[in-house]
Structure formats: C-alpha cells, structure tokens
Symmetry: C2
Subunit: 359 residues, 2 copies
C-alpha cells in the first residue's frame, strides 16, 4: 500500500510510456545475449510493476539485472530443467538465470497442472530475483484460477528478539478473480515493509517510521541505512512480541520452507547473495463451485469491504490490489514517472551497450 | 506465542490428566447424542490444544460447544456431504454440525488426495468452530506431508481505517515435518492477537496491551471488553498503516476467500453468529525431493534460527511450534491446569447431564 512520503515528487519526474519502456528493457537484455523470448518475459513483468505503481520492483531496477548478467552472477542464456514432476507438482531448476523467467515458467506449469488436475504447484531452486511477486498470481487470475507466489531472499529480517538478520523479506502474493469488481491481489513482504521502501526513503532523503528497522541492540533506526549490513535489520510484520512480531517471522519461515527447503535450493540464512528460490500455486476454482457464483460472491465481498465506514478525516477502506490497479489506470494513460537521475542512468546504460533509445 | 501476563496463576489451578479430560469430553458429547466416532474426534482435538498450552482453544470451551448443541445451533448428529470432488479437490458440506468433525474429515481427504496425486485441498461450508487450527496441519505432518488449515469467522477485526468489524480473526496454520528437530508449526490469528487472549485477560482481570483493540474512532482500548459488540474491534496484524496493518487485513481476506468464497459458505461479514468455514491442504513432500533430504534441511534451518544471538537479557529466539511442544512436554507429565471456576463448571455440567466424572 502506497505511502505518500515515498512518492517521487512530480516536478522531478520524467514520464515514459509503458510500451516504450518494454522495448527498452527487451533491447538492453538482448544486447547482453538474453534470448528474445526471455527478454520479453522480463520486460513484461518489470513494465507491469512500473505501470501498477510498484516502483520499488519496477523498470528502475533494470540496470541492476544487467549488471548481474555482465558480472556473470546470472547465467545467460539460462537453461530451465524440470528435476522432478508429478501430476500436480514440479521441481524446477532455474539454471542460475533470470528469476523472472523461471517464476513465469513455474506459474505456467502450475496453471497447466491445475487445468488438468485441479491444483498445480511448482518449487524453483537455483534462481534469482523475480521482481513484483504479485505479477505471477495475476497470470492464474487471468485463467479464472486462484494464484499464489512466494519467494525467499538472503537475510535482512531478524527473527523476533534476534540480533542478526536470518530471513529475507520473503513476500507472499495471492490473487483471486472477481466479476465486475477488480481482482483481489495481496502482495506483501513478511517484513513490516519491503526493503525497497527503505532504499527509496534513502534516495528521497526522508526518514523512515520507527519500527521498520532496528540496530543490533534492538534500538529503533529512522535514518534509512545506505546498504545492507549486519549492523541493522528489518523487523518482521508485527515487530514486537505484543504486536505479533512472531507472526511476521513465522510467515517468513513458512515462505522459506516452501521455496528453499521444498526445492532444496536453500533457506534464507544459507543462500548466496542475489539468490532467490520461489514457489507458485494455481487452483482451478470451477472444481469447487460454478465460476460465476464464485465471482458474484467476490464482488459482494469487495463491495462490503469498500462500504465499511471510516472515522471523519480518515482514508477510505481499500481492498488489496486497489493501489496497484488505481496506479495502472493512471499510468496507462499518462506514462510511468522516473526520477530524473534514474531515467538518465538507463539512457546512459543503453548508450554504453550500443542499444537504441526508446524511452 | 505465550504471554506471561496471560498465564493462569499456578496456585489457583486444578490439574487434570489428558486421558481423563478426553474421557470427560467424550462422555459429555455422547450424552448429547453426538455419535461416539465424532465425540472422539472432538475430544482428541480439544485435549491436544490443552496439552499444547493453547488454553484459549482447549477443553475449557467444552461447555460452550455443549450449549450450542443443546440450543440447536449445531445439528447433531451431523451429516457430512461431499458436494463436488476432483482428483485433488473437494467441497465438503459440514451439515451444520461440529466444526472439528468436518475439518478433521477435510484434512483426512486432503491427505488421501495428496497421497494419490501430490496435493489435496478441501473447502468446507456450513460449518462451525474448529478449535486450534494448528491441530489439522499436524495430521499431515504425521504423514510426512506439509499441512495447511485456515478458517474464517464472524467479524471482530476492522479493515485498516474502518470503524466497523468486517473480518474474523481468520487464522492461518501451517505445519512441516523435521528430522531430529520438532516440526515447524505456525498457528496464528491474522488479528494482532487471537480473540481468546482478550477474553482470557478479562477473566484474569488484567489490562491488554495498547494496539490489540480499538474503539469506533480508532481510540486504543486497554480494558478488555466483556463481549463482542460493534463498539470495539480487534486490529489486523500490523495494526496501523505504517506498521503494515493492511497486510494482516489482507491475509484475513485471503482466508475469507479460501474458506468462505471458494466453498460458497460465505465470507466473514455475511456469516451467521457461530458459523465458521474452513480450508485445508496437504502436500506430499516426496514428490519434490527425497524426504530425508527435506527433513535434514529443516533440521539445519531450525538449528540456525535457534542459534541466532539475542541482546543480553532478551528472550531466546524461538521457532514456531516451540511454545506448544514445550507445553506438551510438561503437561503430558503433570496434567493440564484449569482455573478452579472453569473446572467446577465442567464438573457441574457433567452432573447436570448425568455423566460420570472422570476429571
């Protein structure tokens, strides 16, 4: 959910159309020997995130992925391999390549299996960053299915009471289709906030709220740190014992089990920097009840939640996905705002690689 | 996770052996025409909760279930009916009966389907309270599977910014087996705390921490309310916008979709008092990777988490399930502590129904 103090100031923004951005990303990746089919997948997902207002996971990160390819951290072209498979399950090796490509394939496989058997589930090892986790459930939603994607990461979160990070931000994304209303799309880090929000606060030069990060003695940190070190940690959702911090921590371990332990790729605390394992699931709704009845009840639920009264002066009650779909409605018309420095860096990167400028 | 201020004072406790408690519950239910097979299931689950220290969901509640049967809120004997079924899925109608019986059957079915096809998933409608959600994943864990159970409830939680309750405490329970270590068992309300903890605080005459409950204008409530009304609400995990309250709220809606909308039984805000819909899933780990490798990595993960250093004077880092398994180790030897008034009420209830006293 958006925080006003983390918006890029409009007067500093450069606006880029989604289609142009997509072309730019494809061209950048292909210049680095990423196959066209894979480059298209990455461009689609990064542009989707940017269009949906998830700037922390959007196209602004493209140079980071390019760098990982150039430094040989990512294997390009990657080879996806199904290590084990059953009617409803698969274990996918991502070939140390782009996480987007393997997570996309994992959800495709999940959907195929759900279509055939009702449920499909894939765990991915040897992978990397998948971007906006919420993109993948939406692939299932487009097929009138429930979709789930979770992914683990190297440690930035402390377990409740701990003085060292042991878990990633380990996000959970869940999507369900509605009828006339927009889909339900929950996309949440199991930390109090996604780590990108702390980096963004640093870039914008604003303090972070107390409770997002702590030092090794548990002291609150409000000056956003420049980089990840063992001297500070993100807090689990709930933060303190009385606030339910054991729950955010527990959800992060659940994600670690589904992604890291089930795949064998490794749990957060034993992963190499830049690694991410992923787990996806699709569920064919129509196996349970007629799809139109499901969607009509989703509409009724969403309308009931939206109609919840709020105190005078308070923000309205939203439903998960509202901020993303609201942003997309605007950005599909107006384009995607970039901080000028970020925009110029992408242009410079394209020039360095001898790639045409589309943005 | 246990809160010290919510412990029953030892000097006021009456201690009851687990086996005796089980017999007492079976006898009470059978006196109310619950079939022996169903009474055994309920007794097993309530005693499991009490043995594992989850007193808010344990045998202390037996008179409430008896009352619901006597008042005709529950249909006894209940008839379970499979409304729709596929290789991996089922929709189960609980026949308006004991929620324990239908949730137990749902997990049995999930396990059967997972054994045959890798994954099994059941949504239950027309049901009631299932007690400790964490019991059901442990049925899957005993079969070397991952287990999940979630259940919705009538409204007690506000959506972020709302002035009316719209969601239940909608808990999530997830279990995974380990090798030499104890299983991982996450069992959490998606509210900041389970509602039973607020009732328990009232019974013990202690205030609740700020952030657990709010009034209609969002003012913090620390005096535990006597009963559920529209004048106060539980907070979602995360509580405030900056604390991530939209995440606890979003998880609660996810549970509502899996239980209420997928089953057609209804989402929290449209359910009748006392209703609960449920969703269970089992996953056959060995379809992904050899079971012994999975368990060895679970052990390593759990040991790594336990070994996380803490600041001087701080509590140690626990892993989800530790408080429950620690309590069980003690209570299997020493018995289950009841507040004297609660113990005497159960004895009086048994006498009223002409049932032998075992406790």
């Amino acid at each position: 959910m958006a925080f006003d103090f983390l918006q890029v100031p409009e007067q500093e923004a450069v606006w880029v159309a989604g289609a142009a951005l997509r072309h730019q990303i494809e061209a950048l990746l292909q210049a680095l020997a990423v196959p066209a089919e894979h480059a298209q997948i990455v461009a689609e997902i990064l542009t989707y995130a940017s269009l949906h207002g998830v700037d922390t996971h959007g196209a602004g990160n493209i140079l980071g992925y390019c760098g990982a390819i150039e430094q040989g951290v990512y294997t390009v072209p990657q080879r996806l391999e199904i290590v084990s498979e059953s009617a409803t399950t698969a274990l996918l090796d991502a070939g140390n390549g782009l996480g987007f490509v393997s997570a996309h394939r994992a959800m495709e496989l999940s959907i195929e299996k759900a279509r055939a058997y009702g449920v499909g589930m894939v765990s991915v090892r040897n992978g990397h960053h998948i971007g906006m986790a919420g993109f993948y459930p939406m692939m299932a939603v487009a097929q009138d299915m429930l979709g789930v994607a979770v992914t683990n990461a190297t440690p930035s979160m402390r377990p409740l009471h701990g003085t060292l990070p042991r878990l990633g931000t380990n996000p959970i994304a869940f999507g369900a289709p509605a009828g006339q209303e927009r889909p339900f799309l929950l996309d949440m880090a199991t930390t109090t906030v996604a780590s990108g929000k702390i980096s963004l606060a640093r870039r914008l030069g604003v303090p972070i709220p107390a409770g997002w990060a702590v030092g090794v003695d548990g002291e609150l940190i409000t000056e956003p740190p420049a980089q990840r070190t063992d001297q500070w940690m993100q807090t689990p959702l709930g933060n303190t014992h009385e606030g339910g911090g054991h729950k955010g921590y527990g959800l992060a371990v659940m994600v670690d089990i589904l992604c890291g332990v089930l795949s064998g790729g490794g749990f957060s605390a034993q992963m190499q920097p830049g690694q991410n394992m992923t787990w996806t699931m699709a569920v064919d709704i129509a196996r349970f009840r007629p799809l139109d009845e499901f969607k009509a009840m989703m509409d009724e639920m969403i309308r009931t939640l939206h109609a919840t009264p709020t105190a005078p002066g308070e923000q309205p009650v939203l439903v998960a996905g509202d901020p993303e779909f609201d942003a997309a409605a605007i950005r599909q018309e107006r384009g995607i705002p970039f901080q000028r420095a970020q925009y110029e860096a992408i242009v410079a990167g394209a020039q360095r690689l001898g790639v045409e400028i589309f943005i």
